[in-house]
Subunit: 241 residues, 2 copies
């Protein structure tokens, strides 16, 4: 897997609301994308874009503005258009996940993901500059994704595949788990305590200890949790003596 997030640019075509440009920049930056290309934005730069970017204003400052989509993508070897609707002339359609996978392939050195106007999307002429069409799965009855939300989802999928170079996935708990031999000592201590308080009758055990084992095995106790529980058991035993 090639980890080169930097070969991708996000191209926004004819964006009407400057706030959406700022929000898209923020969405990009959270997912380590930094190349923003704007084709004939209605208003740019603007204070509203900067406000909505909230700390991603470096992306806005570096944004490039072009008079046409063709010029914004001239040096790309893969151009992916986004579409909210199924077009009458069928294009090869990919999902965000498939798109991320395609982008991560070695074969491409410069990729554009193109987002159309808020109300009307990309024109047919613009769509014809694309190699693939990406569609985000949505509610059949309400597919009105906000522009920045669409950017967010696609950049998220790309980030999952190409972006985690800093070895961070979801964080696992690093606390040491109790090993089996120590768990066995815990169960013996628990059983003894339950007998001492006359909750448990060793001669007529029913399912009690099975249930306790199932519960605590499922939990995977950490060392200090096991120590606390054994401390409680010892205290109970001391108190009833």
């Amino acid at each position: 897997m090639i980890k080169n997030i930097n070969k991708t640019r996000i191209v926004l075509v004819g964006t009407t609301h400057p706030g959406n440009i700022g929000a898209a920049a923020r969405a990009m930056k959270t997912m380590s994308q930094d190349k923003l290309y704007l084709v004939t934005p209605k208003t740019f730069p603007s204070a509203e874009a900067t406000a909505r970017a909230t700390g991603a204003d470096d992306i806005l400052a570096d944004a490039k503005v072009f008079p046409s989509l063709k010029e914004a993508i001239s040096d790309c070897d893969l151009v992916i258009g986004t579409s909210a609707r199924t077009r009458s002339i069928p294009w090869p359609m990919v999902s965000p996940r498939e798109c991320a996978k395609t982008i991560s392939e070695d074969q491409y050195s410069s990729v554009a993901i193109v987002f159309g106007r808020e109300n009307s999307g990309l024109s047919n002429e613009e769509m014809e500059l694309c190699n693939l069409v990406l569609q985000i799965p949505t509610n059949d009855k309400y597919s009105s994704l906000n522009l920045a939300a669409a950017v967010q989802i696609i950049c998220y999928e790309i980030y999952l595949l190409t972006g985690n170079d800093s070895e961070k996935g979801p964080v696992e708990s690093t606390a040491a788990l109790v090993k089996q031999d120590k768990m066995e000592m815990f169960y013996q201590h628990l059983e003894k305590c339950l007998i001492d308080i006359e909750f448990h009758d060793a001669d007529n055990p029913r399912l009690l200890m099975h249930r306790m084992r199932r519960l605590f095995n499922r939990t995977q106790l950490e060392e200090n949790e096991c120590n606390i529980l054994r401390g409680i058991l010892s205290k109970v035993q001391e108190k009833i003596k």
Copy 2:
């Protein structure tokens, strides 16, 4: 795979900007989520929320408002908190994709996904009401996801797994899990018992009850397990009298 998207609610805690509530509603609706729960929103309802919802105002109209997180999730059998940062006491962490997979399991009948305040997230007390913590992978250097963007990503992952089939109602779980209000009674009983045996000093509590909550929330007690544990606590209390 059971397709029952309707068992999930999105809970926004202490949202400051009404625009974010509207944008979250829109994000939810594009992914077929319709249950919005608001805990102490700063301003709601508001014209700004409605404007940003852009056609998802039905979600806002049906939104329920609560004075505390506890009340918003009392009937849930799985509560998933979202966090932007790694906490000092490690919680079991899941990714959005793992979260979606967990939610799609039959075992849960009512699931809450909880989003904290724009600036400060969830408090530790709120986090302790959660069974799992969800973290969206982001750029190490800029993890400032917009609230609605976080809602969008998570609802997108759920939508991919549980999809369109919004006709299906909640599914009964095989072994009934203890719901939040009953877990709260368990923790109160446990704390009382630990005080009675003088293991726990309520005036100098250290982290004991926090650790106990973390342990048993992670475990997700079944009804009969909870009954057994409470039976043990009662027996201890009776014996030391």
